[in-house]
Structures are given as structure tokens and as C-alpha cells.
């Protein structure tokens, strides 16, 4: 039933049950729904910061008369692209894990989950190196709003990924303890979706930083 027709139900008529199936038979797992609802929250967070970024970027010309004193974009060191590549690989590894789980290929699934997690950790290490690189080059957070936005966005994105790695680590733990297979497969799928989501956010953020 579509959402509209459900909201149009005249529930005061026809008491009864016949037409209603057992809920467990058709509902997706609660964890899946929870993750999708959370995507809504995360999307608002990133969108608002991006919107603030664009608004704030438009201000300096009024303040410093276009001298670039207020807003000067950061350079893009190769590390930025290396990290992006790592995150892409990480997402691909998770994708491979999901596919393996569909084929019941447990060994491959386990190795791909490990790879996905490891690459995720590597990405975070890379991001920290990137911060360090900027710091040593004098791009402090307080020096310029463009820098401040960069640190803010990468920090929030990184925290989200850290949360993902936590969930991914738990999934590995469940595999080690041979928990219920269906549940493991579902968690692998959820982690995969989450990773793809964070990759998409990262690509959009990187594009925002590069274009402006």
C-alpha cells in the first residue's frame, strides 16, 4: 500500500483484521530503518554546514573589499586525493563483502569486511596527516574561515566514519563468535550502505572545497 493510501484509510469504518498481514512478514529489519532515518539527520548536518560555508564565503567581499584578506581558500595537496582514493577502495571492499554475503561466501566476506574496516582506519589516519600537513604549512583554524570550515567538516565526517568503523568492528566480532548468520549478513549490508553514504558525502564536500 502506498503511503498516501495508508494515510487516507478511514479507520473508523470496518473494524476487523482480515486484511492485515502479520507485521514481521513484510517489514524490513528495524536496524535498517534506523540507519536510513539517521541518514536524514546526517544529511541535515552536512547540508547546513555546507550552506553556512556558502553564506560565509559570500561575506568577505563586503568586508575586505575583495582583497582576499578574509576568505582565502586552502590549497589541495595530493594527500587529499590519496585519502579520497582510500575511501573509495574502502567502500568497494564493503561492496564486495555484501556481494560475498549474498553468495554465502563466508571467507571472502570476512576478508572483505576486514579490508573495508582497515581502509577506513587508513582513511582516518590520512585525514589526521592532512590536518598535520595544513598545520605545519600555517593553515590554522583561526587564521581563516575557509580553514575553519575545512577542519569542522572533516572532523564531523571523520567522527561519522569512526562510528561506522565501530559498527564494522562489532560485525567482525560477531563473525568471530559465530553469531546468527542472517544478522551478520544484515549488518554487513548496513555497514556497506553507511560507507557508501559517507563516501558520497565526502565526494560532495571535496567538490565543494575544490570548486570554491
Amino acid at each position: 500500500m502506498s503511503l498516501i493510501s495508508r494515510l487516507a484509510e478511514k479507520s473508523w469504518e470496518n473494524p476487523g483484521i482480515a486484511e492485515y498481514r502479520e507485521p514481521d512478514s513484510y517489514r524490513p529489519a528495524a536496524a535498517t530503518v534506523g540507519v536510513y532515518v539517521y541518514f536524514g539527520v546526517a544529511t541535515v548536518i552536512f547540508t547546513l554546514i555546507a550552506a553556512a560555508y556558502l553564506v560565509r564565503m559570500g561575506i568577505p567581499s563586503a568586508v575586505d573589499h575583495g582583497t582576499g584578506e578574509d576568505w582565502s581558500p586552502m590549497p589541495e595537496p595530493p594527500l587529499l586525493w590519496i585519502n579520497t582514493g582510500i575511501l573509495v577502495l574502502s567502500s568497494l571492499a564493503w561492496e564486495a563483502a555484501t556481494r560475498a554475503s549474498r553468495r554465502d561466501d563466508v571467507t571472502r566476506m570476512r576478508s572483505m569486511v576486514m579490508a573495508g574496516n582497515a581502509l577506513g582506519v587508513l582513511f582516518l589516519v590520512g585525514q589526521v596527516l592532512l590536518w598535520w600537513h595544513y598545520q605545519t604549512a600555517g593553515y590554522y583554524l583561526s587564521a581563516n574561515p575557509a580553514n575553519a570550515f575545512f577542519y569542522l567538516l572533516t572532523a564531523i565526517h571523520g567522527l561519522h566514519l569512526a562510528g561506522g568503523i565501530f559498527a564494522g568492528g562489532r560485525t567482525l566480532g560477531q563473525m568471530a563468535m559465530r553469531a546468527d548468520g542472517q544478522r551478520i549478513c544484515r549488518n554487513v549490508r548496513l555497514c556497506t550502505i553507511y560507507w557508501h553514504y559517507l563516501l558520497a558525502v565526502w565526494l560532495l564536500l571535496a567538490a565543494l572545497l575544490v570548486v570554491t
Binding site: 495508508r6 494515510l7 487516507a8 484509510e9 478511514k10 479507520s11 473508523w12 473494524p15 476487523g16 483484521i17 492485515y20 502479520e22 507485521p23 514481521d24 517489514r27 529489519a29 528495524a30 536496524a31 530503518v33 534506523g34 540507519v35 532515518v37 539517521y38 536524514g40 539527520v41 541535515v44 548536518i45 547546513l48 554546514i49 553556512a52 553564506v55 560565509r56 561575506i59 568577505p60 568586508v63 575586505d64 584578506e69 578574509d70 576568505w71 583554524l141 583561526s142 574561515p145 575553519a148 569542522l152 559498527a167 562489532r170 560485525t171 544484515r186 549488518n187 548496513l190
Partner: protein
Amino acid sequence: MATTIADDLRPMHHPKTWVGKYVWSQDHKVIAIQYGVTAIAIGLVALVLSVLMRLQLGFPGLFPWIQPENYLQYVSMHGMIMVVYLLTALLLGGFGNYMIPLMIGARDMVFPFVNMLSYWIYLLSVLVLVSGFFVPGGPTGAGWTLYPPQAISEGTPGNQWGIVTMLGSLAIFIIAFTMGGLNYVTTVLQARTRGMTLMRMPLTVWGIFIASIMGLLAFPALFVAAIMMLLDHLLGSSFFMPAMMTMGQESNTQGGSPLLFQHLFWFFGHPEVYIVALPAFGIVSDLISVHARKNIFGYRMMVWAIVIIGGLSFLVWAHHMYVSGMNPYFGFFFATSTLIIAIPTAIKVYNWLLTLWRGDIHLRVPMLFAIAFLFTFIHGGLTGLFLGNVSVDVPLSDTFFVVGHFHMVMGVSPILVIFGAIYHWYPKITGRMWNETLGQVHFWVTFLGVYAVYLPMHYLGILGVPRRYYALGETSFIPESAHLANEAISVAAIIVFAAQFLFFYNMIWNLLRGPKADPNPWGAASLEWQTPQTPPGHGNWGPHLPTVYRWAYDYSVPHASRDFIPQNEPPSAEAPSEEAAL
């Protein structure tokens, strides 16, 4: 990922120790009570602060220990605590937690562990907030709106430490809320029992459900704003801080936009009004229907109105910024969208009145509070229409007219509903009954008292008395009578304050000594009253989940044997069907 009860057919894990049952509990009912008690406790702090403010406003000079800085700190802490830490936490964390699983026929929230974490993180946020009273310089005095640059500049009370505890506490609160909100939304979507279609849910659940979605989408704005202001303050960035001269010295900030903060704040702040209002709307609908023994008028329209109000309320935020110097075309847009929201809101009001119309009204305490809500809400809604118009708002903004307006519409109204709801569900939650006389006295003093407090404020505002002022001093445009009105308001406020102790006495004493309550004393049809045990046991429903056959409002159905038919009663048990009637 967390274990989910909805997907789990094995018997539930039963905690064995006292600590597992009542402290680190994952039972939604215990968590609800933890949320509720914490929220009310911190709400009492805010109430005491309001009394201190009223003492100062009514009798300026009589209390030399209330200095101007203190007054500003009281205003700020009072406002923030009331809106966020009391109302949001109590309506969603408290009532949401208690009612959702019971009303939709679930055993618990779908993520019980996350639910427990949500409470403990909320408690942490409250503790961080309270720590603001003890840091050097005291809590922030920037107003509950926390506008930069003044919030973090020299001259504002608490601009060093108090603002940090406030912003930190808000960020923590939002994390807690997000955990709770994810639970409420997912539980409503996933854990409804067999036969409980979306349109068979009681309006209480609808109100809480949509408010939770709104909270999930609105609180991030406050989160982002809080983090950015913390960075400005602690690490010297310039998100919101423009170039300034403070104390003759140039600040090392430049180019930041205070307006940007205002947009972020109100992108959260306006929906917040409805995050508080929608659960109250839902609850009041159910109270009115039960105690008038009539089905709610226009159920479908009520649901749609909740959804539409929820959506529209994300499009009106800048009506709080008419005086910020924004583009007049924006003002026009936001005034229009504000007035449009009045339409679904008015529909709800008419439907409540039509539900009462020719109902078999029982004026018990919960119903009295529900009807009182109609008064204060209509009142506050009408003054809102005034303020929604740019040309009316400009002279009235930042006066006591605004204070009168928002207390009526989002202060007093939800509080009255909360009182009504506590009286209504107390017998189910505790298994005991409160004292009717005490309840009646509490109601009348509170209801008449809040009118005595807030009605004159509108008049003061029209005279031009500004809000957030410690004292009026010598001003030619404020007549002597205004001072008299201020004294009267303060006396009324103190009486209202004192009357609340009747409530606490009634609730606490009868918790221990009250007469045993009937499992369904009001004859209500919704599921939470049909539990096998009162108070409901762990897992709520005994061995079998209930099955739902009808909506939640079958009251006074013709030919039925009782004047209500519970939601889990199959059609064959009663014989009111068309054929039988023919």
C-alpha cells in the same frame, strides 16, 4: 548494530538485580520515568529562577543580591531549561518513551540499549548545564537565544565559562535526543502490532512521532551552531564573529556573520515550538475524546494537520528575525508562510471544540487541564497572528507582549497538557489514584493564576515595557500603573509557584498511600489501558501481543454494551455491525 526487539522472537531478557531493573534499565517504562523525573527536577530549577526574576521585576531594589548580571543569567537559564531540558525531554523522552510502545502494542522500543544510553547522556547534559552555575563568572546571560557576538564578548555575564557549559550541554543533549528520536521513529514504523495501521494509532502517538522526526531534522541546526560558536570562542575562528572594538581594543576576529547564527538558531528554534506543541496536541486530543466519551472529530484531518504543521514549520523560521535587518521580501515570504500555518492549526482547534460539542463531558482533573489548554492555546495563537505580521511585530518585538505571547502558546499550554496527561495516566503508571480535591484546587489556582500572570504582560508590552530588562528605571513612557501591574504579576506568580506543591504532594503521597486504581478508570479504548497488569509488567503484554481490530476512538458506539470498545476487541464480540442493527 544494536539488537532489535521487534525482530527478535526469543523471550526477552529479564533483568534480575535491582540495579539492572531500575538504574541501568533498558525497559522503556523505567527510562521514561527516569527522563520524566530528571526533566521535572531541572524544570523546578527553572521555575525557581522565574520566581527570582518576578521578585526583582515586581519589587525592584528590594533584593540587593539580585544584580543586573544575575537577572540576565536567570532569564537565559530559565528560558533554555524550560524549552529544551524540561518540555522537550519530558514530552518526548518521558511521554514518548512510556506511551509509544504501549499505545502501538509493542513490548519495548526497538533499540532498548540505545534508549538507555539516551537517558544517561541526557542526564550528563543536565549535569553539564547545572555546572554552569558553579563555574567562574556563573552561567551565561546571553538570553536563551545565545546570539553572538554578545554571547561570547566582554560585558555579557558568563561570556568565558558559562557559555561553554551551555553550548557543550546543548551539544550533548542533542546527541541524547538523536538516540531517543531514532528509537521513537523506528519503533512507530517497525513495532506496531498486528492490525495497528498508521491510521489506527492514537493521536498522542502521531504527535510524538511527527515531533520526533522534526526534532531529528531541527536539532542538527542547533548542534552545528553550538559547535561553530564554541570554535569561535575557544579556538578563535570567525564563523559568527565580525570585526569588533571591545573595550577600546580591536578584536582579532573579522568577517563573521551574527546573522548566520540567527538563521541556524531559528531554523531549529521555530520547529522546536512545534516539537513541544505537537505531542501536546496529540495528548490533548486523546484526553478530550476520552473524557467527553466521544470519538475525536475529524481524526483523519487531525493526522494530516499534524503532518502539515510539521512540514510547514520548517519554512517560517525567519519570523523571529523581522528586526534583524533582513530583506523586506524575505519578511513578506515568512509572514505569509506563518499565516498559512494558522490554517491547519485552526482546523485542529475547531475539531477539538467539535469533539466537545454535545459530548458527555466529565469534568475530571485531566479534562479540566485539557480544556484550559484550549483557552491558553487559542489565546497565544491569536497574539501569534499579530506578531506574524512584520508591521505589527516591529514595534512589539522585544517587549513584554512577546513574553506574554510565547508563554501562553508554548510555555503554559504544553505545561497544562503535561499536567492533564500526568493526572490521566498516573493510575496506569503507578497503579494508584490521586486525590480529586487536591487536583481540583491545583487546577484552578494554576489556571486562573497563569492568566493573572500573563494577561497583563500583553498590556505592559503594548506600553513598551522591554523584555530582558533588570529594572525599568525612570522612563516617561511607562506609567505608574505598569509598576503596579508588575507587582500584581509577581504576587500571582508566587501563588502559582506555591500551588505546584499541592501537585507534588498529591503525586508523591498517593504513590505510596493512594487507593489502588482501577486498570482502566476512565474507560479508555486505546491499547495502553488494556495491559494484563497495572502498572504494565516487563514486556507489557504477557505471553501474547495484542491484536488490534479498530481505531482508538470507539466511544459511545450505538448498540454496544459499554460506552467504549477497546482497540483489541474483535468485532464479533460486540455486535454493533450494520447487519445486526438492521
